[in-house]
C-alpha cells in the first residue's frame, strides 16, 4: 500500500447525529481507475469533499504521495498534484475555454498571483493549456466562452482543466453526469487513456462506464465501505447486490 498515490485512512465525518463518513480507508495506485459507487446519500460527496480539502474530517488522514495533507487547503492539495472535477460544472462561465484551462496551467505552476507577465499567449503554460484542450477535443471552441458550450462540452472542459494541472492523481465526481449515451461513451474512452498519466478516483453513477473503466471498485453504503476489490469480485458480492445493484 505504500506505493499508493492517494489514500485515506479511517476518515470519519459526522453532521450532528448523522455519520456521513464512517472509517473510510481507500487507496489509489499508479495506473489504475478506482471507482467509488454507492446509492444516493451514501456519503460519496462528503468523502470527495474531505479528500479534496473543502471539508475537514473529524478523524482520519488523507495522504497524497505519502504526505499527510489532511490539514491542507484545497488550493494546497491542487498544487501538490491533486486534480478534481466537479459534479456540477464549476467554471468561469464568462471566460473562454482557453482562459479556463490556462488558469489551471498557471495555478499548478504556482503563478496565480503574478502581475508582471501576461496570463495568455506564448509560453509553456499556453502550450500545456492548448495540449489539454486538444486532448479532450475542444480545439474548435477554444475561444468560446464556457457559457456558450453545451453541457457535454462543459464536462469535457472540466477534464481539460484537471489535465492542465499535470496532476499526480485525478478525483472525478460524476464526470458522466447528465451526458447522453454517446457523450458518455466518448468520455469513457478519454478516461480510459488518462489512467496511464495519473490514476483516477472515479465517483460515478453510470454503471456501464464504471464496469468498462474500473480496475477496482469500492462500494460505499451509509458512509462505510461495504466491499472493495476487483470488478468481478464486487459484482459477485452478495451484500453489494442486495444493497445497491439490485438483481443484475
Amino acid at each position: 500500500m505504500s506505493d499508493a498515490v492517494l489514500s485515506t485512512h479511517g476518515l470519519r465525518k459526522s453532521f450532528g447525529a448523522l455519520l456521513a463518513t464512517d472509517g473510510v480507508s481507500l487507496d489509489l495506485r499508479p495506473g489504475e481507475i478506482h471507482a467509488v459507487i454507492g446509492p444516493n446519500g451514501a456519503g460519496k460527496s462528503t468523502l470527495i469533499a474531505q479528500i479534496c480539502g473543502s471539508l475537514v474530517p473529524d478523524a482520519g488522514q488523507v495522504r497524497l504521495d505519502g504526505i499527510d495533507v489532511t490539514a491542507a487547503s484545497p488550493a494546497q492539495r491542487a498544487r501538490r498534484g491533486l486534480a478534481r472535477t466537479f459534479q456540477v460544472s464549476a467554471l468561469a462561465m464568462e471566460d473562454s475555454v482557453l482562459e479556463n484551462v490556462t488558469l489551471g496551467a498557471t495555478g499548478r505552476a504556482g503563478g496565480g498571483y503574478g502581475l508582471l507577465r501576461r496570463a495568455l499567449g506564448r509560453g509553456d503554460r499556453h502550450d500545456r493549456a492548448l495540449a489539454a484542450i486538444d486532448r479532450v477535443g475542444l480545439g474548435g471552441v477554444a475561444d468560446m466562452p464556457a457559457a456558450a458550450l453545451s453541457h457535454g462540452q462543459r464536462r469535457l472542459l472540466e477534464v481539460a482543466i484537471a489535465l492542465s494541472l499535470a496532476p499526480r492523481a485525478f478525483v472525478m465526481d460524476e464526470p458522466m453526469a447528465g451526458l447522453g449515451g454517446e457523450g458518455s461513451a466518448d468520455l469513457t474512452l478519454l478516461l480510459d487513456a488518462l489512467r496511464t498519466e495519473a490514476p483516477i478516483l472515479l465517483v460515478e453513477h453510470d454503471m456501464d462506464a464504471v464496469f468498462a473503466l474500473a480496475d477496482r471498485i469500492s462500494v460505499l453504503v451509509a458512509g462505510r465501505v461495504i466491499a472493495s476489490g476487483r470488478v468481478d469480485e464486487v459484482r459477485a458480492d452478495r451484500q453489494v447486490r442486495r444493497a445497491y445493484l439490485g438483481d443484475l
Partner: protein
C-alpha cells in the same frame, strides 16, 4: 460598435482635451472641474479593481480615500506649523513634498486595505458590503472626534504641496499631475487585468471553488486585489485633499463610498474606461444640474436607474455593444 480600447483612449484623451482647451481659453474653473474629474476617476479606478474585476462590492472605499486625504493633511499640517509629529519614541517631520505624501498615502491605505480585507473577505455578498461599510464608518467617527486635526471642522492646508519641477499652484500643472496619476493607474489596472492575477481574480469572482481546485487561493487573490484597489483610492484621496487644500471627515463618509460605486456603475463595471467616463459625467452633471437646482441628485438617480435597467454594461457597455462582467 466601438472597440473597448478606442473607448478607453477616447475617454482619457477627451478629459485631457477639455483641460487643455480650458487652459487655452483661460477658463480656470473648468480646469479645476477637470482636475476633480481626474481625481474621482482615479479613486473609482481603484474601486473598479475590487468591484469590477473581483466582484467585491465595497461600501467602505471612502476609508482609503479619507486615509489618503488625512495622510496629506497631517503631514502638511505639521510642516506648515513647524511642529514635528511625535509618535512616542518616533518623531516625524511634516512635509510639503507631494511624492513623499503620496508614498505615505499609498502605504497607509494599502495597509488598511490589507487589514480590512483580511477580516471582510471571510464573508461574502451582503455581509461583505456591511463589514466594509462598518470599517468606513469607524474611520469617519474617529476623524470627527480627532480634535488635534480639526475634528468635525476639518483641517485647512494653506498652501498646495509641492512637486519637484512643477508649479502646483498653476491649475493646469496640478491637473497634469493628477492626469498622469490617472493614466498610470489605468495602465496598472490594464496590466493587472491581463496578468495571471487578473485571470485568477476574474475566475474567483465567478467560481471560487474552481480557482481553489487549480491551486490558487481565491481569498488570497481577492486580498491582493483589494490592497491594490485601496492603495489607488488612497492616492486619489491625497490628491483630492490637495485640490481643495482642505481635509475633513466627509472624505470618510459612506456617501462618498456610494458615489464611487455610482461612478463605476454609470461608466461600466469592470471596464477600464468605466470610472473615467463615470467621473466625467458625474462632475459635469454636478456642475450643470447643480447650478440649476439643489436637487440635482434626483436626476443623477434617474440616470443611474436608466443605466441599471437598460444598459447593464454602463456607458462603455452601450458604446462597445457588450455587457460587462456580471457582479
Amino acid at each position: 460598435m466601438i472597440p473597448e480600447r478606442l473607448v478607453t483612449i477616447g475617454a482619457v484623451a477627451g478629459l485631457l482635451a477639455v483641460a487643455l482647451g480650458a487652459w487655452a481659453l483661460g477658463e480656470i474653473f473648468t480646469i479645476t472641474l477637470a482636475t476633480r474629474a481626474a481625481i474621482l476617476a482615479l479613486a473609482a479606478t481603484g474601486l473598479n479593481i475590487a468591484l469590477g474585476y473581483g466582484g467585491l462590492v465595497s461600501l467602505g472605499h471612502a476609508a482609503f480615500f479619507g486615509l489618503g486625504g488625512y495622510a496629506m493633511g497631517i503631514l502638511a499640517f505639521h510642516a506648515q506649523s513647524y511642529t514635528p509629529l511625535e509618535l512616542g519614541a518616533l518623531t516625524i517631520e511634516g512635509t510639503k513634498s507631494m511624492p513623499v505624501i503620496w508614498l505615505v498615502a499609498i502605504c497607509v491605505s494599502a495597509l488598511a486595505a490589507w487589514v480590512i480585507g483580511l477580516l471582510s473577505l471571510r464573508t461574502g455578498g451582503v455581509y461583505f458590503i456591511m463589514i466594509t461599510l462598518a470599517f468606513g464608518q469607524m474611520f469617519y467617527y474617529f476623524a470627527i472626534s480627532w480634535s488635534a486635526y480639526g475634528g468635525e471642522d476639518g483641517l485647512p492646508i494653506y498652501l498646495r504641496n509641492s512637486f519637484p519641477g512643477v508649479d502646483t499652484l498653476v491649475p493646469v500643472q496640478f491637473f497634469g499631475l493628477c492626469f498622469a496619476a490617472l493614466v498610470l493607474a489605468l495602465l496598472l489596472s490594464a496590466r493587472l487585468r491581463s496578468a495571471p492575477l487578473g485571470l485568477a481574480l476574474n475566475a474567483a469572482r465567478q467560481s471560487p471553488a474552481r480557482v481553489a481546485a487549480v491551486g490558487i487561493s481565491p481569498t488570497r487573490v481577492k486580498l491582493v486585489a483589494f490592497v491594490i484597489s485601496g492603495a489607488i483610492t488612497g492616492l486619489a484621496g491625497a490628491l483630492y485633499a490637495d485640490l481643495n487644500r482642505f481635509v475633513s471627515p466627509a472624505m470618510f463618509s459612506w456617501q462618498l463610498s456610494g458615489e464611487l460605486i455610482v461612478l463605476v456603475i454609470l461608466g461600466g463595471v469592470g471596464r477600464l474606461a468605466g470610472p473615467v467616463i463615470g467621473a466625467c459625467l458625474f462632475v459635469t452633471l454636478e456642475h450643470w444640474l447643480g447650478g440649476l437646482t439643489d436637487f440635482w441628485h434626483v436626476w443623477l438617480g434617474a440616470i443611474l436607474l436608466g443605466v441599471v435597467l437598460f444598459a447593464r454594461g454602463g456607458i462603455v457597455g452601450l458604446l462597445t455593444g457588450k455587457a460587462g462582467p456580471h457582479v
